[in-house]
Amino acid sequence: MKNRIRELRTRKNLTQADLADAVGVRRETIVFLEKGTYNPSLKLAHNVAVVLGTTVDELFLFEEEKEEAEEEGIDLVLEE
């Protein structure tokens, strides 16, 4: 899943190791998170968002996921 972790982290002058220490995970986890190859748990996503001073919605680009899903014919949101 695409995200803005690297952008917000560098804006806050944090290294990957700093962010990893702050949220209590290994540095490699932050590396794969930034690459978008690892989908974090809700708890980790929330912790990263808190440390970077933002929200989960702002941090992860759900819109792009939604567009991709719509292109594939999958409804992500059920609306009445």
Partner: protein, 140 residues
């Protein structure tokens, strides 16, 4: 900046305690081996030595690797569990194959060889699967 710390069970202090307990068990086992005859009732020397050795090796390795490298987070736990699952499945398939080899009188391994195969296969394949998944990033 807020700070979210991992479980205290993975802290350096806890691993040092495990290391000391391991040495303690090893000492008890060795003392029993030296001062009590092997046939004596209540002699658990081999159990103490085995448990102590495992604790000393695991805790020693973690202390040697450094705190950053043995920290388990949600990703490592998830990948670890998947690696073990795949290892279990591979072992199941190998056991299935060995059964048929035995049943068709093609190969008849004794219990010792079979045990070594299973111990090595489970240990090595779990590690290999975990390493592959670690490089991939996630299990999905």
């Amino acid at each position: 900046m807020p700070c979210f710390k991992p479980s205290s069970l993975k802290t350096r202090t806890w691993i040092q305690v495990m290391f000391v307990i391991g040495i303690f068990l090893l000492c008890i086992g060795l003392a029993e081996l030296v001062f009590m005859p092997a046939s004596a009732e209540g002699n658990f020397a081999s159990a103490y030595i085995s448990a102590g050795t495992v604790l000393v090796i695991l805790a020693g390795l973690r202390l040697y690797q450094g705190e950053k490298n043995y920290l388990q987070d949600e990703r490592t736990r998830k990948i670890g569990a998947y690696g073990l699952s795949w290892s279990w499945f591979l072992t199941f398939l190998v056991l299935f194959a060995i059964f048929w080899l035995y049943y068709l009188h093609i190969w008849s391994p004794d219990a010792g060889i079979l045990s070594v195969i299973l111990i090595l296969l489970m240990g090595v394949s779990a590690r290999v699967f975990q390493l592959c998944l670690f490089r991939k990033g996630d299990v999905e």
